[in-house]
């Protein structure tokens, strides 16, 4: 926890510590435009200007252990007004990446581990996934105008492959239907995959680039396997 009233020992300051971080943080002119534009300024004492200065001054542990980088949504409003074009949102993500994985708050890292191990954040088995997709497809087929509707799973040579946000096969199955209805009306030749269908990639939130590459790579693998050329990734 950091608070603006906390006194930092001047001996800790080391300008060289983070100078290889490629976010231009050393260019900060402390104008405060970022803090003025930030919707999260003041929440738990959060101040993007102060955070940028702390990185520039080498106070890495302090920002890595802080709650601030996780209260920030990396919305980019700060960097949009920054006269020195400092990449503040990416800097926040870099700080997140340096948090010990077991100390990443909430279910973010746990969900990501589940996705890496099982192909989706929910650890939903393949049979259960197929059951849900087919069950919801039957509901759609009962609606007027959608007679005969089916959700094609693992269809080789389809025109479009679409990923699925895990919440749509968990608590929000109704929301599967919107895209399906559009596909039906457009007579689209589409498919979903029975494995590695996960559309979210929580490495984006936790600062884990390796995990993001694995998740994206799996989707590409599915496209190659099914010989699908176009990906719709609504997440």
């Amino acid at each position: 926890m950091i608070s603006s009233s906390e006194i930092i020992d001047m001996d800790q300051l080391d300008h060289t510590r983070c100078r290889n971080w490629p976010f231009l943080q050393d260019f900060c002119v402390t104008c405060g435009m970022c803090a003025s534009s930030c919707p999260a300024s003041g929440i738990d004492g959060f101040d993007p200007r102060m955070l940028v200065r702390m990185v520039s001054l080498g106070l890495a542990e302090e920002v890595i252990d802080a709650r601030w980088p996780w209260i920030c949504t990396m919305c980019g409003k700060c960097e949009n007004v920054c006269p020195m074009q400092i990449d503040i949102a990416d800097l926040i993500r870099k700080i997140r990446s340096k948090r010990e994985r077991e100390k990443v708050p909430g279910i973010l890292h746990k969900g990501l581990v589940a996705a890496l191990e099982t192909g989706n954040n929910l650890r939903l088995p393949k049979d259960d996934f197929i059951f849900i997709i087919e069950d919801v497809a039957e509901e759609v087929a009962e609606e007027p105008g959608f007679e005969g509707f089916k959700a094609p799973i693992d269809k080789k040579g389809a025109n479009i492959l679409t990923t699925i946000h895990n919440k749509l096969v968990n608590t929000h199955t109704e929301d599967l239907k919107h895209w399906w209805k559009i596909f039906h009306a457009a007579k689209e030749d589409w498919t979903v995959t029975s494995e590695n269908w996960e559309g979210t990639s929580w490495g984006y939130f936790t600062g884990d680039d390796d995990a993001m590459k694995i998740m994206a790579g799996r989707i590409v693998e599915q496209m190659e396997k099914l010989e699908v050329k176009t990906l719709l990734w609504p997440e």
Binding site: A89, P105, L108, I160, D175, A186, T230
Partner: protein, 148 residues
């Protein structure tokens, strides 16, 4: 391919037809950070015009929030904040966004982002907007489909 490009393609190619009279109550649109401001910075193209064009094909009665596009205000549900457990902070974060929405008097909020959708549904009652309908952009399109 983005959700916007595909929807626009279907509409322009005449593969889907939409009923513009289905929704008459005032609606508004929220620019998600990643489709808008951050896409503009990372890829040189923010998806600002595309969703608005799609909205125009679905309904007559919608207005923009102010400020919007590059100066848009985040909903507070992005960056993993919906699942990192900092819930009071996340709800408080949304106050400025909610002020924008209330200023329009809209009864429906259209969003093309799962995180924004989850955030708005989670917080709307907290801010006295129980009746505000939160709709995915593609849900709006699906609801307006004219089926032959």
């Amino acid at each position: 391919m983005t959700v916007f490009d595909l929807l626009i393609q279907y509409i322009k190619d005449g593969r889907i037809h939409l009923d513009k009279s289905k929704f008459t109550q005032l609606a508004t649109y929220h620019d998600p950070c990643n489709y808008g401001r951050k896409a503009q910075k990372r890829f040189g193209h923010g998806f600002f015009q595309e969703p608005r064009w799609i909205l125009d094909q679905c309904m007559e009665n919608w207005v923009d929030l102010y400020p919007r596009q590059m100066n848009q205000i985040c909903c507070g549900g992005g960056g993993g904040t919906l699942t990192n457990g900092y819930n009071p902070e996340r709800v408080f974060y949304a106050r400025k966004k909610i002020d924008q929405i209330k200023a329009t008097g809209a009864k429906m909020l259209v969003v093309p982002c799962h995180s924004c959708h989850g955030q708005f549904n989670n917080i709307k009652a907290e801010y006295g907007l129980e009746d505000l309908e939160i709709k995915y952009l593609w849900e709006l399109v699906a609801d307006c489909l004219i089926l032959s």
